[in-house]
């Protein structure tokens, strides 16, 4: 769904960890979700991509206790984007579940806000 990014202030509240990193692999992908076909030229139909469990290499830590150079498993929730090995950028991560796997926040994951936007938001918070 091509909605604008959420205001970053509303997402920072739930951000436990923020890093710059790169996806190194996709561990698992959820089942395909129902797909709505539009008429010719129609956009913003709201189809969602499935969840993915992925490994994320931490290149820089902006906030939180992860170690630079380490790799963690994270959850890309159902939504408007997919990731793959090589996907990089700023990742905001929410509270980890019982299994220690934290969800990626932001409507478009690492493409939701530029790094400088994230840094400015942290500086302001």
């Amino acid at each position: 769904m091509a909605l604008p990014p959420e205001p970053i202030d509303t997402v920072l509240v739930d951000t436990k960890v923020a890093v710059v990193g790169e996806i190194t692999g996709v561990v698992a992908t959820g089942p395909a979700l129902p797909h709505r076909e539009g008429k010719k030229g129609e956009k913003d139909l709201g189809n969602k991509a499935p969840w993915q469990r992925v490994t994320l290499r931490i290149d820089t830590v902006l906030r939180g206790g992860l170690k630079q150079g380490s790799t963690v498993e994270v959850l890309k929730p159902e939504g408007a984007y997919l990731v793959d090995a090589g996907t990089k950028g700023p990742f905001l991560l929410g509270a980890a579940g019982d299994d220690g796997v934290a969800p990626i926040l932001g409507r478009y994951g690492p493409d939701t806000w530029r790094l400088e936007v994230v840094q400015q938001a942290f500086a302001k918070a």
């Binding site: 709505r36 129609e42 913003d44 408007a80 984007y81």
Partner: protein, 579 residues
Amino acid sequence: MRISDKQLRPIADRVAQTPTKRVDDRLVIEILAAVADKSGRSAAQALTELSAPGKTRAEQLAIAQAGLSKGERKDIETLLDQSGFSFDAGAKNFLEALIGRATLETGGGNGPLPPPAAGVVADERGIRGTLEAGMVIEAINLSSAPDQRLHLTDTKEIGRAGAGGQFVLDANSVTGTDAMKRLTAGDVIRLRGRRADGTTTDWIELKVGGRDTTNAQFNGMRLTLTDDGRGQVGLTHNTGRPLTEPGAQLRFINLRTGDQLDVKATADGSIPANLKIAGKAGDQIAVAVSDGTNNADLKTVTTTLSVLGNSGTVDPADDPMPHKDEVRSDGTPMYPLRRYNGPLFVNGPTSNDVRQGVIGNCYFPAAVGAVAHMMPKVIEDAITEVRNPQTGEREFQVRFYSSSGRMELVTVDADLYTRSWGGPIYGTTPNASNPDSMELWFPILEKAYAKWKGSYDRIGNGGSPASVLTALTGKSTRYFDTSYNDADEIFRAVKAAGDAKQPMTAGTHDDKKIYTNTGVYADHAYSVLGAEESGGKKFILLRNPWGESEAGNDGKNDGYFKLELSQFMKLYGDVAIVR
């Protein structure tokens, strides 16, 4: 992977559908029960026996081995060797011992499992208990729901009760969806069983056991604060989705007057009706929340919200109803209308004035931005400021063209659905949080389009930018498909149209994988602003109707960018050009 045993197959299918495909000690007990069913016991009896307090691993293994058939042995081998499942050490040893590949380890942490309780209990390891045999179990985490786009009835199927009604669900298998985001100590879980005929048990609410270090959430976007004109501010939960955790303690503090209001959240995570606190429009209200354990003194403020002016009620004759996501179950809008008094135009309309709001109508701002860029006079001529002959109030007459070319006029006022947190919820122009200075033409145009089509819902679930180009200009469009038209042909058409000031839009594909890290977004419409050649390369000039988020980094993040033609052909599926 082929599992022949009908008791084992559904267990394997269930594991295969989990994100981690993890098999732990608890799940292995279900496998052992499925195997043990040929030893004179039913699977349900075996599960009860295997789960009995004090039962050792050796005794559990013996029960399973007594019923192990040749086919089941093969199935266990398949699970171990071909499934790709992730076995915990103890679970793997159990299964390998069952088929004689390994000796059973009895020490360490591989002890017998806790029995399912009478009723249902949860801790951070999982949810277990007893309902009716074969019931599908569905649940929602009420503590994490306020941050999700969920109603409290949006439960997730988390498992199935066995033949004896018992179930032991590992935390990994029940979490990871919006409804069951996590299983954290202190969380409130709402759960019920669904029978094959569709009927259900009553809801069961349980608290996840363990040390609670996570405070209740509060979603400030779901609360509207309105000046009632009599020195009081009304607090309205503006959605059917939860505001906070059920039973949470809330404190509202007027930062100007110091007035405080303490409220306990309802069982549905809402607040009681008709709540008021002393104050007026423009006041800032701080909100503190506690789950009773964390932030118990309510000293830490979660969020601060602004009080809106009172703009009366929606008049269906004048104001289009909101998108369905912003309408309560009783049919009333969740957000109040607020009167905006800014100028209709500031230095004429431009594409930079256009900002998409919270509904799925990118096709509309993309087309409007394109017309504003190429034919600003069309926009200026389409909106006429008038006075209501009865009330003398400021209104706007907006002209559209139907697909058959018939001109139609729609009259709207400058009341826009607005949240306490920020400005209008639908399309805006820059400076949206100031009701006295925001340039009005784009939100007025969108409001009139919503009224013409029926409501914001009618225009907010996808659509065609070409139809909006026609509605604004009265002209038909040419359509280019990047699968059928070659790159040079499209470049020539866009260049010629740009030079001739013909509005254009382009749309991306719905294949989300190809867009990651490109700065371009799937299933999205863009304004096309022209084409150019520089340095021997061909470029298409574009604008994202969000007014931000673009390919490349020119240091502005204003939505404007250019793409090399080859990249444009890969990422975009179609171009519409006004004739």
